[in-house]
Amino acid sequence: MNDSLATTPAGAATRPAIGGGGWPRFRRALLAHRGLALGAVIVTLLVLAAVLAPWLAPHDPYLQNTANRMVPPVWHEAGNWEHPLGTDRLGRDYLSRLIYGTRISLFIGLVAALISGVIGSTLGVLAGYFGGRVDAVISYLLTTRLAMPVVLVALAMASLIGGSLITVTLLLGLLLWDRFAVVARSATLQVRDAEYVQAARALGCPLHHILLREVLPNIAAALIVVATLEVANAILLEATLSFLGMGVQPPLPSWGLMIAEGKSYMFFQPWVIAIPGSALFMLVLAINLLGDGLRDISAPGGRNE
């Protein structure tokens, strides 16, 4: 057995990682990484803001002060440093509400994506792994779900049950699983017949081991990308629902609600909607940059070479 001096670290030597694509791909990868870094920085900052809101916010976000209504931001000639981003129509500090609003957006985004991720990945993995009738039933569910317009269904349900933070989160969680299911199903189909899955089956591994230890880690990269996109999606939908009055209810400082409350002032005090609008734009853009970057760097891998 000692002819096996095959002990030098190999890898690159035996299978040089030569992939096609050329310069455009390389440039794309570079830009993607830059986008990834930018997205990661912004998301990290916003998460920090959400976590540290009680210390960062200069005022109580719910404290009304009718004497101090509609104070413009500091860069405006009538603005002051007491309220750097001004106050709203009830005299509440806009910066504090914005910071606390990060909590709501991130909470809804993350929890809704988590719920839909669990539902969608489970369904997708089962459909992909078992195929046949299981796949037919799950695909039917998926088609049914895709036939429902998310906003309309969410609006209808919210008006039926009554909008609240929990309602919106649950509704979105129960509605946004389609992309997870589609991606998990197709990724599982590719992995299902891999010889390492066959080997695990031949070892008598129980089903949960095969699905959780052999299949899931190998489709996780794709699911993480979907997750980031769904977080952004859920945040936008929450803002939409809140804007329409069927989402988070006042006095909670949701960004969508802030825009809704400011909409009657938008012609004379445009900052009232510009500020939460920009925050929303930044957060969603950053999450999408993160997701795209993750997709780009995880795409060529798979064989870890």
Binding site: M1, S4, G11, Q198, A199, A200, R201, L203, C205, R303
Partner: protein, 332 residues
Amino acid sequence: MTLAIEATQTPPAEAAQPFALELRGLSRTFTLGGGLLRRGRTLHAVSEVSLRVPRGQVMGLVGESGCGKSTLAKMLLGLTSPTAGEVLIDGRPIVGTAQKALARHVQPIFQDPYSSLNPRQRVAQIVGLPLRIHGIGSPREQAARVAEMLDLVGLPGRAARQYPGQLSGGQRQRVAIARALIMRPALVICDEPTSALDVSVQAQILNLLLDLKEAFGLTYLFISHDLAVIEHLADRLAVMYLGRIIEEGTREQIFSAPRHPYTRALLASALTPEPGLGVPDIGLGSVQPDPSAPPPGCAFHPRCPLAEPGCSQQRPLLNDTGGDGRVACHLA
């Protein structure tokens, strides 16, 4: 010698079984293109395969892609259930055996070491998995068994901490072999274990497989399309064509006096490194077999250079050749 004769004469149920593997009329069909409402076509992947592999021997299984050899392997491993017939391992039918119990007796080594190892697990986890699943030994004993096994297959100790992506093709195949053998199965199904490897590495792996067979008294079912490898390794050899065994016998019989025209063509098409011989004319037409629509009668007759009118009428049975072999051909 006398022992062996006695063993075959006593009823197989009680006596020590001389066959590590026995297949009785094994068949498997698949339905193609069927949906919820329409019925698909039936594909006979494996049809009435009967085969006995004596313990400690290497049974070579050759045939072209689509001949059913991989489906056959999956049935032996319990990964696909047969539609008819039975598989006996050490004389015991595997029907009704839990996959976990079966796993202790038969293990696979797959073709592609790039896909047979989970890229997200370290080598130690991969090789130790059988022990963990079957709850053999304490974690410390398991680690010791893994280290011992890695050493046996010629891998350095530090390989245990590496991921498959950090290893070369040959090293990965060694990992796959270590995983297959750590529970000391009696029967190993080798499904083209060297065809994805470079020539120089192939020799290392073949040597290793032969050494391990000696060391552990293993029985191999060795599937390959490389006749030089089969001739080097196999004691017996079965040739499959469109789901059926068409010839079976000892290595000497088949390589020196093949009876079936397909076996002859197969042997003729093996290109040994002998310059000057040129590429042989193997006499098969350009028709390629379609497993989902096998020809009537002898499935080989459209390509057979010797075919007679009767060959398309009646399917030849797999008959004893008188010696220790069987062949399915009207003209043999």
